[in-house]
Each structure stands twice: as C-alpha cells, then as structure tokens.
Amino acid sequence: MKMSKWISTGAAVAGFAVAMVSSSVAMAGDIEEGKALAFSKKKGNCLGCHRIEGGAQAGDIAPPILMMKYRYPNKDELRAQIWDATAANPHSVMPPFGRHNIMTDSEIDKVTEFIYSL
C-alpha cells in the first residue's frame, strides 16, 4: 500500500498547520539522525513492524506511522510509547526500546523527533 493513500486527506494539511505552531522546534540534524536510527536493523528496526514513509520492505504487524502530531499532541507521550510500549499495553509486541536499553536516551530523543515529524 502506498503511503500517499493515507496522507492525502484534508487532515494531513491541518496536521501541517499544527506542526508550524508547535513550540518545540527540532533540529533538522536530529530528525535525520533519528531516521537513520529508526531504520537501522541494529537499533530501532521500526520497519520490521511499521510502514514508515521513506523506508522499504516494511512489515505489517503494527499500524503505519503517520500523522503522529495528531495521535500524540504531546510529544512526551510519543516518547513514552517508544521508551516502553508495554507501559500502555503489557501484551505489546513492540520492544521496550528505553527500558531494555536497546537505544540510549539521546537516541530515543532523536527517533522521537523523526517520528514526530511524520
């Protein structure tokens, strides 16, 4: 399935507007590093389960990652999901990236910036 199918809705445009007024401005470099970490098989390997724009051969275990500012108006909550998905859902198959030290705190910050930019 093409990502564009998901994004081509009016809501995406509104999402962009939210992005513009968002107070925490991420450094472009962090987003790029976050993307590399998210796509790396050794680190995030998020594509194992999620479709994410710009990534190939994604799995289909989990919801596609898009419009994250809508799902998570509060960036800290998004970070918390990445840090330990089992806090919200004990049965989650999503690895607890922070709690199990799969990535460091600063790596998770960067991944969060990347995911938040989608």
Partner: protein, 288 residues
Amino acid sequence: MKSRGIKILMSMGAAALVMGSVVVQASPEDDRKAFQTYYVEKFPNTEFSDFNNGVYSISESFREQWESIEEFPPYETFVEEGEEEWNKPFKNGKGYSSCFGDNVSAIRPEYPRWDAQREQVVTLEGELNRCRTDNGEKALKWKRGKLAHLSAYISYEARGKKINVVIPDDPKALAAYEQGKHFFYAKRGQLNLACADCHVYQSGQHVRRELLSPGLGQASGWPVFRAKWSGKSKSGDGLGTLHRRYGGCNKQVRAKPFKAQSEQYRNLEFFHTYMSNGLEWNGPSYRK
C-alpha cells in the same frame, strides 16, 4: 528522562504471560484443542492436515517455489548418509537397532516422550546419542551433521504417521509440560518477545518481508534443510535440528539461547509437539 533499563540481556522474560496461558488449570487436552481451533479459525483457507508445512501452508506465493524444490530436495543425499550411519556397527559390534529395534519407521513417533524412570522428557536426538554413549561411542554434535542425518533418515521412514505425543497424568510430567508451555508464552530477550507473540498472535503477518508461520505444525518436519544454513556450511549441508531453530529464534530477540537438549528445550519440544497432535510427521523438510 532517566533510563531505568536493565543492562543484562534477560534470558527468561518477565513473568508476564500472554493470554493463552492465563487459564493455568486447563488440561493439556483443553490447551491443544484451543490452540488448534485458533489456527483453524485464523486461516480458514488452510486444511488442518496442511499445517505441518509451515509458512507454505498459509502462503500460495511462497508455496509454488517450495513445491518445485521439494521435487528434488537438497536433503535427499543426507537422508542416505543417515541410513549409512544407521547401518554402521559400533566398535562393540552392536548398532543403533540394539537400542531402537529394527523397525525404523516406528521410531520417530515415539518422541518426545515422558520417561517416568528418569523423570524427564526424552527426545529422538537425545536417545540416539544415549545409545552411542551406552555403547562406548562418542556423542555426536547436537544441532547439525551426523546426528541430523540420522534423524533425517528416521523421520523420513516415519513420514505419514500421525503425531501423538502423550502427556501422562503424572504430576512431574505435567510440570514439564507446563514449563514448556510457559517457555512458549513468556516474553524474553532484549526485544521482549515470546514465541507466541510471533507464532500465535502475529502468525500470518510479516516481520519485514518474513512471513510468520503458525505455531501449529512447527515441530513436525524436522530436521529442516534451510537454504540459510546451507550457505553457512562448507559442504552445503543445510540440515539442522529443532533445537537449533529454538536457539535461532531465541537469538533473534537477543535472548541468550539455551543449549540444545537442555531441560528447557526438551520441555518446550514436549509442549510444542503435543500441540500438533493429529498432524502427520513429515520430516525432513525444506525451508528457505
């Protein structure tokens, strides 16, 4: 945010069990029925008897290529080597048949089995090596090579017989079964995933492009010849035992694997094979 993470890789997952095993009081028979019904309902296009073909039972596109490979299977020469090994006398003049009898086709369906005297689960590979050491021979390596060839020959001879693992009504046997079941449903490793996460709840989904096979039927076709294992071996011998795969699936989630034929893996095999009762033994088989 301060990291409160655990530095060591956990080989046993947190005690949190996933749904399937919440009903602790269920009898093995109830477990098996629920397990099998789950897959039958989840994959309505798959015949029950076909679940012993792993991912190929649920994917037509993968299946075609696999069927053409199974016409001239790369494991065939190793089945022959296994037969030669079977017929080679030990230094004391006896052979494997002194432990297992002459009817080779009857052997595979006897394992895994609860051995009431030794109070443990015994497996085909374990008993093959026990036969050797009892007769003054060295034990063979557990995960590949000669032992896998022998197992391939013995499994080949038993093709078409039904899996019928018996869990005796004996507290110790039931405890071994429960341990195997717990192993299957417990999250483990740095990635925090249970066997059941991938092969029950997510079976039929893809991790990247890898399709996850149903847990039902997973223990029927061993040893398996994998293209991946063949690529790693100098001689191209890609046969590996079930416990080799258990180790691989543990490593995938960054958990420390247990030793082949450890109590943990034998109990897992006991539970895992019992879940497939009623399907046919179909080893050896080919997997990519």
